[in-house]
C-alpha cells in the first residue's frame, strides 16, 4: 500500500518557484495498479519519483505499507521498491543475469539464490534462461529488453513497484503483448504498482485506478470505468476525449452482457418449437446448435413462419460469433463489419453461451448513469 498525504513539490527555478505537485492526497491499495495520467508537465512523474526519493519532496508525507518513508534511509528504501524507467536502463556493461541480480546483490543475497531467481524470472516472461542469461543488453531486441527491465525490478520481490512509462518505448504490437503478459504476471504476484503513463488506452486497460493530474493537482482518482463514465470536470472530459463512452467498451467483456444461453434449438429439432420460442421471446432470430451444444447456425423468423419441416432446411450460416472473453469493443466492431445487430456468443471451444445485442450493449454502458439517477431520486 502506498499513501500520500499533502504531498507537495516546489521547484526552485531561475524564473521563480514552480509548484510541480500541489498538495496531493491519495492511496494505492495493496495489490492494485494505479496509473498516473495527464499531459506533459502535469506532475505525474514528479509524484512517482518522490516516492523513492529520486526527487526530494518539499512537503507532505509518504507511507509505504503504513511506514513513513522519511524514517527509512533512501538507499535502503529504494532497494525495497522495484523501479522501471521508460528508457529501460539495462546496464550495458552487465550480462542479463547480472542486470537482473543488481538489487539482490545489493541486498547481499547468496549468489546461488539470486542466479536461480534470475532464471525463474526469465521463464516467467517466456525468455529461455539458458539462451539469455549470459547475453548483453545490446544483443536483445527492444521488446526483450523491456521484459528484462520489468523482471529486474521484481528480482528482490519488492512489495511495491514504480514504473515510469515502462512500455512507452516499444512499438504498438509488442506493447500490447507485453501489457498482456504483465497483467497476467500481476494477477499472480499482486504487487502494489504505481505507473506513469500518457496513454489513456493503456491506463484503461491496465489500471485498477487512474489518477488524473493537471498542473500538479490531482484532478480525479477513480476506477477506469467510473472515470470514463463520470469525469468530474471539463478538463478531464476533454482529456479523455469525446469518444470516452466508446472507450468503456474495452472495459467490459462479452461475457458481462450476453444473455439467453437457454434460448437455442437443436439442429434436428422441430421447426414448430423454434417458432414457438421466438414468438414467446419476441425475437426475429434463434441460434441453432449442434448435437453437443456448439453454435452452428441460426433461423430467421420470417423464413420459417407458416412453414413445416426440419430445422436443417431453413437454417442460415452465422455471419460471425463473439467469444465470451472478448471485450465489447471487438464485439461491436464485428457487428458493424457484418452489419448485424446481434451476435451469438461462444466459448473457446465453440459452445454456445448466449447472445449479445446492440441494445444490450448500450444498455450496459448506460447502466452506470441509471444507477446514478436512481440514487439521486431516492
Amino acid at each position: 500500500m502506498i499513501r500520500m498525504e499533502n504531498l507537495t513539490k516546489v521547484f526552485d527555478t531561475p524564473g521563480g518557484d514552480v509548484t510541480a505537485v500541489n498538495n496531493v492526497n491519495m492511496e494505492v491499495p495493496a495489490g492494485e495498479i494505479c496509473i498516473l495520467l495527464g499531459p506533459s508537465g502535469c506532475g505525474k512523474t514528479t509524484t512517482l519519483k518522490m516516492i523513492n526519493g529520486l526527487i526530494p519532496k518539499s512537503a507532505g508525507k509518504i507511507f509505504i505499507d503504513g511506514k513513513d518513508t522519511d524514517t527509512v534511509n533512501p538507499v535502503q528504501l529504494r532497494r525495497n521498491i522495484g523501479y522501471v524507467i521508460q528508457q529501460i536502463g539495462l546496464f550495458p556493461n552487465m550480462t542479463i543475469e547480472d542486470n537482473i541480480c543488481v538489487v539482490p546483490d545489493l541486498l547481499g543475497w547468496e549468489k546461488a539464490k539470486s542466479r536461480k531467481r534470475a532464471a525463474e524470472l526469465l521463464e516467467l516472461v517466456n525468455l529461455v534462461p539458458s539462451a539469455f542469461l549470459k547475453r548483453y543488453p545490446k544483443e536483445l531486441s527492444g521488446g526483450q529488453q523491456q521484459r528484462v527491465g520489468v523482471i529486474r525490478a521484481l528480482a528482490a520481490d519488492p512489495p511495491v513497484l514504480l514504473m515510469d512509462e515502462p512500455f512507452g518505448a516499444i512499438d504498438p504490437i509488442n506493447r500490447a503483448v507485453i501489457q498482456d503478459e504483465f497483467l497476467k504476471m500481476q494477477k499472480e504476484l499482486k504487487k502494489t504498482i504505481m505507473f506513469v503513463s500518457h496513454d489513456i488506452d493503456e491506463a484503461i486497460k491496465m489500471a485498477d485506478k487512474v489518477a488524473i493530474f493537471k498542473d500538479g493537482i490531482l484532478e480525479q482518482y477513480s476506477a477506469p470505468d467510473d472515470l470514463l463514465a463520470r469525469p468530474t470536470n471539463d478538463f478531464i472530459a476533454s482529456f479523455l476525449g469525446q469518444d470516452r463512452t466508446l472507450k468503456r467498451l474495452s472495459l467490459l467483456s462479452v461475457g458481462d452482457v450476453k444473455f439467453g444461453e437457454e434460448y437455442k434449438v437443436h439442429g434436428e429439432g422441430d421447426l414448430a418449437n423454434a417458432i414457438g420460442q421466438m414468438k414467446e421471446l419476441g425475437h426475429q432470430n434463434i441460434v441453432v446448435t449442434g448435437p453437443q451444444g456448439r453454435a452452428r447456425a441460426f433461423l430467421h423468423l420470417n423464413d420459417i413462419l407458416g412453414k413445416k419441416g426440419v430445422i436443417e432446411e431453413y437454417r442460415q450460416a452465422l455471419p460471425a460469433v463473439a467469444n465470451v472473453k472478448e471485450d465489447l469493443k471487438t464485439a461491436v466492431s464485428t457487428m458493424f463489419r457484418h452489419d448485424v445487430s446481434w451476435l451469438a456468443c461462444v466459448d473457446d471451444d465453440g459452445f454456445y453461451k448466449g447472445y449479445i445485442t446492440q441494445k444490450a450493449i448500450s444498455h450496459a454502458l448506460s447502466a452506470i448513469y441509471r444507477d446514478e439517477k436512481q440514487n439521486t431520486l431516492r
Binding site: P39, S40, G41, T45, H198
Partner: protein
C-alpha cells in the same frame, strides 16, 4: 623581459619561420586531402579494403615521427633528399592520412540510410548520390579529420627542424643546443600559439560547414 625583447628583435625571423612551418603543414595536408578523401570514399565499397587501408594508416601513425624521419633518410638519400623539406612534407602527408581517410570513411558510411534511400528514390545514380548527398553531408566530418591532422602535424613539423626542414622548431633546436632560453621559449610559445590558432581557425570553419542541428526533442 629578455624573451620579449628577443621576440621583438626577431619578429621578421619569427614570421619567416612561421611561414616555413605553415607551408610544410599546408602543402602536405593539402596533398593529404587530395589523396585521403578519394581513398576514404573508395574504401566504403569494400569492408575488407577498408580494414586493410585503415590498418596500414593506423600503423603509420604509431611510428614515432623521429623514427619515421630516421627511416626515411636512407630511402630518400637515394635521390639526394634525405634531409630537409621533402622528408618533412612526406612525413606530414603520411601522418595526415589516418584522420582524413578514417573521417571520410566514417562520414560516408554513417550517412542516414533513409537519406540514401530517398536519393535513390529520386532516381540519382551512384555518382550523383555521392556528389549531391553523401559528400556534402560528409564535409564537416572530414573537416574534423583535417583539423586533427593539422594540429598533430604542426607539432611534428617542429621536430622536423632536426632534419633541416626549417620552421619554428629551429628556435627550439638552437635554443637547446646553445642553451639559450630566449630562443627556446620563443620557439615553444610560437609553435604552441600556431597550433592553438590553427585549431580554433579550423574549428570555426568546421562549424561554418556544419548544417545547424534540428532542435532537440523536448520530452515530458
Amino acid at each position: 623581459m629578455d624573451i620579449l625583447l628577443f621576440m621583438l628583435d626577431n619578429l621578421s625571423l619569427i614570421g619567416q619561420r612561421t611561414w616555413e612551418h605553415v607551408s610544410i603543414v599546408g602543402v602536405a595536408v593539402g596533398i593529404a586531402i587530395l589523396t585521403g578523401v578519394p581513398i576514404g570514399i573508395a574504401i566504403t565499397q569494400s569492408k575488407r579494403a577498408a580494414d586493410i587501408v585503415l590498418g596500414i594508416a593506423s600503423v603509420i601513425v604509431t611510428i614515432p615521427s623521429v623514427a619515421l624521419f630516421g627511416l626515411m633518410i636512407p630511402i630518400l638519400s637515394i635521390i639526394g633528399q634525405g634531409v630537409g623539406y621533402l622528408p618533412a612534407v612526406i612525413a606530414v602527408l603520411l601522418y595526415s592520412q589516418l584522420p582524413i581517410i578514417r573521417n571520410t570513411y566514417v562520414a560516408i558510411t554513417n550517412v542516414d540510410p533513409a537519406m540514401r534511400e530517398a536519393a535513390k528514390g529520386l532516381g540519382m545514380t551512384t555518382i550523383q548520390r555521392l556528389m549531391r548527398v553523401e559528400i556534402p553531408l560528409a564535409v564537416p566530418v572530414v573537416m574534423v579529420g583535417v583539423r586533427v591532422a593539422v594540429v598533430m602535424n604542426i607539432g611534428i613539423t617542429a621536430i622536423a627542424a632536426y632534419i633541416g626542414a626549417g620552421g619554428l622548431g629551429t628556435f627550439i633546436s638552437r635554443g637547446i643546443s646553445q642553451t639559450d632560453p630566449r630562443q627556446l621559449i620563443t620557439g615553444a610559445i610560437a609553435v604552441s600559439v600556431l597550433a592553438i590558432v590553427a585549431d580554433y581557425f579550423l574549428l570555426f570553419i568546421q562549424q561554418k560547414l556544419t548544417p545547424p542541428q534540428s532542435s532537440e526533442k523536448i520530452d515530458g
